[in-house]
Homo-oligomer: 238 residues x 2
């Protein structure tokens, strides 16, 4: 492991945790995988601390990633020229989004914290999770204009990006072949801060560094729970 | 338009173009969209210059974005623990990938230039295109270890990222709300340089700035064709 990680060794106090609702958006095909284990560990730890945890197991749900006309259960706003973003916005307001999208939006709406758990595929989320973002976080629900970023509709929630990589910390360092993980995470974190609050800019980095070894669940628990604070004292710097 | 773009105003000479094969991986639901127009313009221009152009119209194909066991037509390498990346690698070598993936790999293999044409969804490609990347560009076919980046298997090809944005150039500038487009493109370009050659680091930026107005097809043609050189004189800097 790189010496660049610093994980608090003391067990955090479980203050402000009980009663919080957590949604884990989880994308791995294999329950016995590291991602599956991390998801299970999060469910267990958070439940033990009094959180109410919901998991969207995207592969198990066979979640639809494609953004198409099938997402709308009523007539299109403009059937002559299909603009998915506009149609989704109108459909959200009319309540005619497809049931799978509405179901996920309800889970998001009810959550205080959303954890995205996935393996890095081509320097980003797997397509099935990208589809969740594309379809669920639609205009009107997650953001609008100018209600985005600091004014995004989900700013009362926290988002946490937790993932595994196919290489070690060095590979994702400033001098590594894959490049600095901070840059790799930029678009993903931009998506999050556009509508949600990111727990901390440094945490996903730490996750990438930690989660690459298969014996880090305990450290990750500390990491997941931070220093015991549910919400960081300061807003994430952007 | 921002003054930061600089597009050559002279029509480039069509040297080194004839006979080249181009694959356009295209992700838009609406043929009449700006993305559809850009795809059509590229097909027309490149065909006129003697290129052989193939289009993978992902939505029209209802391309499957999810990376699952269905991608393998024979017995799994390890049916007790499903690791998609390993299974894809083994299946590629055995020739038991699903027919849709094999078909796309053939198109890639035959192409000299691959153009990715899409609207930016959540600071990245739409899920359907991410699925194309996840499934088609598998280990063994696009890269291996250590045959990646400079040694990637598709380094004899060029990749060109062409996309539209929902905001203007200022929004994607260093001081814009969405942040510098260069950072947004980082993971996508990292994926490309991992196995293919990127035409130029600055071109996708120029595309983002240009394509946002709906009257730029001519300029885009120049941009698409660069200064008339099929391949830039220097390798892209990474």
């Amino acid at each position: 492991m790189s010496g660049t990680t610093s994980v608090a060794m003391e067990d955090p106090q479980p203050r402000e945790m009980a009663g919080k609702r957590v949604l884990i958006v989880y994308a791995h095909q294999e329950p016995k995988s590291m991602n599956g284990s991390l998801k299970d560990a999060a469910v267990s730890e958070l439940s033990n601390r009094g959180c109410q945890v919901t998991v969207s197991d995207l592969y198990a749900m066979n979640f639809e990633p494609r953004a198409t006309k099938k997402d709308f259960t009523g007539p299109l706003n403009n059937s002559d020229f299909f603009n998915y973003g506009i149609e989704a916005h109108v459909a959200y307001k009319k309540g005619i989004l497809s049931s799978d999208v509405i179901e996920e939006q309800k889970k998001v709406q009810e959550a205080d914290l959303i954890i995205f758990q996935f393996p890095l595929y081509w320097f980003s989320v797997p397509a099935i999770m990208k589809g969740w973002m594309d379809r669920v976080l639609c205009q009107g629900f997650a953001f609008d204009f100018p209600e985005c970023f600091d004014r995004g509709f989900l700013q009362n929630k926290l988002a946490l990006v937790s993932f595994t990589t196919g290489g070690d910390a060095e590979l994702y360092s400033k001098t590594g072949l894959s490049g600095d993980i901070k840059y790799i995470l930029w678009p993903l974190q931009s998506s999050m801060v556009c509508c949600i609050s990111v727990v901390s800019k440094s945490w996903p980095l730490r996750s990438a560094l930690l989660l690459n070894t298969h014996q880090k669940i305990r450290e990750r628990r500390w990491w997941l729970l931070g220093q015991g604070d549910w919400r960081p004292s300061g807003k994430s710097s952007r």
